[in-house]
């Protein structure tokens, strides 16, 4: 699913490289725990995987697509079509309803909209299904402002959004760091069951190593990135 080789990235010619990854790969359907403290080049790597930026050298192949040769617009549609993101916090757009937020990826990607329709009949129905699976009580919360949701609820909505339309890869960037322990455990089990259900690959970045045991594989940024220590 992910194949990185000889990847190097630096902000400018005068800066030291922030990414120097000789080799890193994730198999299809694999759930990988990536431990990455701040300054380890983690954010840059996620931006590279999402096709936001291009490396100085090396290759990035995600889901069979070589991102390095693509133009910005093509990388944007690659991201729209195949990757779902969950961020640490503030994942939601304050002026949209829960349903609209979850449907958002399908608005920018025809193939995800089609996949969602195929699954539940319509994009909205699929959004409702995912929110229901994420144990969001729509009846009570649908008309509330998203900013009024608890952090745990917000992260579950974000997970539903990342999963709609069956993306092949879900990248979660410290999604649990703002959650209490019991909320965190509930979130993890919901996320895992939906990832399995969708058949997606999961790259989970966190520094909460207590979660690592639940994953197929665990690694750290310092293991894969030779440039990570300089900040």
């Amino acid at each position: 699913m992910i194949e990185l080789s000889n990847l190097r990235f630096r902000w400018s010619a005068t800066h030291a490289p922030v990414i120097d990854i000789p080799r890193f790969s994730v198999k299809e359907g694999e759930r990988v725990f990536l431990e990455g403290p701040s300054g380890s080049g983690k954010t840059t790597m996620l931006n590279l995987l999402g096709g936001m930026t291009v490396p100085e050298q090396g290759s990035i192949v995600v889901d069979g697509i070589d991102l390095v040769g693509l133009k910005q617009a093509a990388r944007d549609s690659f991201r729209a079509n195949r990757v779902g993101f969950i961020f640490q916090m503030f994942n939601l757009i304050p002026y949209l309803s829960l349903i609209d937020i979850v449907m958002l990826p399908c608005r920018f990607s025809t193939c995800r909209a089609e996949a969602a329709c195929k699954k539940s009949g319509s994009v909205e129905a699929d959004a409702r299904r995912l929110l229901d699976h994420m144990e969001i009580d729509l009846e009570a919360l649908e008309n509330r402002a998203v900013t009024a949701l608890s952090t745990g609820q917000q992260q579950r909505v974000a997970a539903a959004r990342s999963l709609i339309g069956a993306p092949s890869l879900v990248i979660a960037d410290e999604p649990t760091s703002a959650l209490d322990q019991n909320v965190r455990d509930a979130f993890m089990s919901l996320l895992f069951s939906e990832i399995t259900d969708a058949g997606a690959t999961l790259l989970f970045v966190s520094h909460d190593v207590t979660l690592a045991s639940k994953f197929d594989r665990q690694t750290t940024m310092s293991d894969i990135n030779n440039a990570g220590t300089q900040q």
């Binding site: 999402g50 002026y95 920018f108």
Partner: protein, 422 residues
């Protein structure tokens, strides 16, 4: 498909900031209303002026400015500085190139409306608009010395009907104790509405004007001398002077000759003008004021649009996170740009719609006021092509203004990617 979601996001985001968005829209809407009303008043004023007189070849008065003469004799604006002697008038009236001549005598008023002494030829020869003849809504032209014919507006505003008696005040003051109470006039006719200053004029005979001033000298009553209305009838009421004369020529080709001859009159300094030429002179005078007003209004629009750009720019930082999320779900930087431009476009569109609504609301409220105060009839008709062009220009300017914050948002979204910053 993406165009729809961008429009949806732009609209939702504005709705979320309804207070600032609303105030911005209102500020621009006021400027839109101002531009449109300036344009409307300008065209309507010109039309109204141009429609007031037609079929009159020459206007003659005491020597002053052409515009001044036109304004006081035809539009009842301002006052004559001097009159023409009766003998001069007769000399002009006896010219053999004339088809008709109508003397006018101004200077008195009735409850704020100007009183004009004339002859019944006025109703026969005066033309307005597309050479339209004056028509009576009720009654007939004056016949007796103490008869009067009212303009439509006078009759309506003061609720007069044929047969009512009115008292004329000396001079043009609205309130005044110097009234010709002893010699009331009887309303014999009311004219149909013309949309010209005629509607606000009280017409009486020249003899009537003379009669009420018999026992007056230099603006006040002569002490101890009173002449009753009946006594006045017995006297010779030949006017000593008139204010202006309207002339119709047998052939318009002779207009310049008549003009020259009257202007060179030896008896007293006279001024003859061609109404069309004087109107042109008036337009060129107004042109400067129009241009100044146009520039002011332009700045008001610019201020409104700058306010909009400020609002959008101020939101840039707090919306970086929002843009990052949109990028993460697949939005391109171009989508972010489009979203901001659309927000500017939507705000301007709403402002234009609201501005048009304000214009018509304002006109509906101010219409009677403008008519009585300035004698300007502003009809509530559809927007002119020029007004639509102005609206399109404002829409264009608004969209371009929206492109400024859009450009910053675009650059931010490229720099930020989906890295969420606080």
């Amino acid at each position: 498909m993406t165009a729809r979601i961008i429009l949806f996001l732009a609209a939702k985001s504005l709705l979320n900031r309804w207070l600032t968005a609303g105030l911005t829209v209102f500020a621009i809407a006021v400027s839109v209303m101002m531009v449109l009303s300036v344009e409307k008043i300008r065209t309507d004023a010109k039309l109204s002026f141009a429609n007031t007189i037609s079929g009159t070849d020459l206007v003659v008065g005491a020597r002053s400015g052409a515009v001044q003469l036109l304004l006081y004799s035809v539009f009842r604006i301002g006052n004559a500085t001097n009159n023409i002697s009766w003998r001069s008038y007769q000399e002009i009236a006896n010219r053999n190139d004339l088809k008709w001549s109508v003397p006018l005598s101004l200077g008195d008023s009735h409850r704020g409306y100007r009183v004009m002494g004339t002859t019944d030829d006025y109703f026969k020869h005066y033309r307005y608009g597309a050479r339209r003849v004056l028509q009576f809504d009720d009654g007939i032209p004056f016949d007796d010395i103490f008869d009067t014919v009212l303009g439509a507006e006078v009759a309506e505003a003061l609720d007069y009907a044929v047969g009512d008696k009115i008292v004329i005040a000396h001079g043009l003051g609205r309130a005044g104790f110097t009234k010709h109470v002893d010699k009331p006039f009887t309303v014999t006719g009311i004219l149909k509405r013309t949309g010209t200053p005629l509607d606000r004029t009280v017409h009486v005979s020249l003899n009537g004007i003379e009669a009420i001033h018999l026992d007056w000298r230099g603006g006040s009553r002569i002490p101890g001398r009173t002449i009753t209305a009946d006594q006045a009838r017995e006297l010779t009421l030949t006017p000593r002077s008139v204010t202006a004369v309207l002339l119709g020529l047998k052939s318009r080709l002779g207009a310049f000759r008549a003009l020259r001859e009257i202007n060179e009159s030896r008896r007293e300094p006279l001024l003859a003008i061609l109404p069309g030429v004087a109107l042109q002179e008036l337009w060129s005078l107004m042109g400067t004021a129009e241009a100044a007003l146009g520039i002011v209004v332009l700045f008001v629009v610019a201020a409104g649009l700058i306010g909009m750009a400020t609002m959008l720019l101020a939101s840039l930082n707090e919306r970086r996170r929002e843009m990052a999320i949109l990028r993460a779900v697949g939005a391109r930087p171009a989508h972010v740009f489009a979203m901001f431009v659309l927000e500017g476009w939507l705000l301007t569109l709403l402002a234009c719609v609201l501005g048009i609504a304000l214009l018509y609301f304002g006109l509906a409220v101010a219409q009677p006021l403008i008519e009585t105060r300035f004698g300007l009839y502003v009809p509530l008709d559809v927007l002119t092509i020029r007004q639509w062009i102005i609206i399109s220009a404002i829409m264009g300017a608004g969209t371009v203004t929206g492109a400024v914050p859009a450009w910053f948002a675009y650059r931010n979204s490229i720099a930020d990617g989906m890295t969420i910053r606080t």
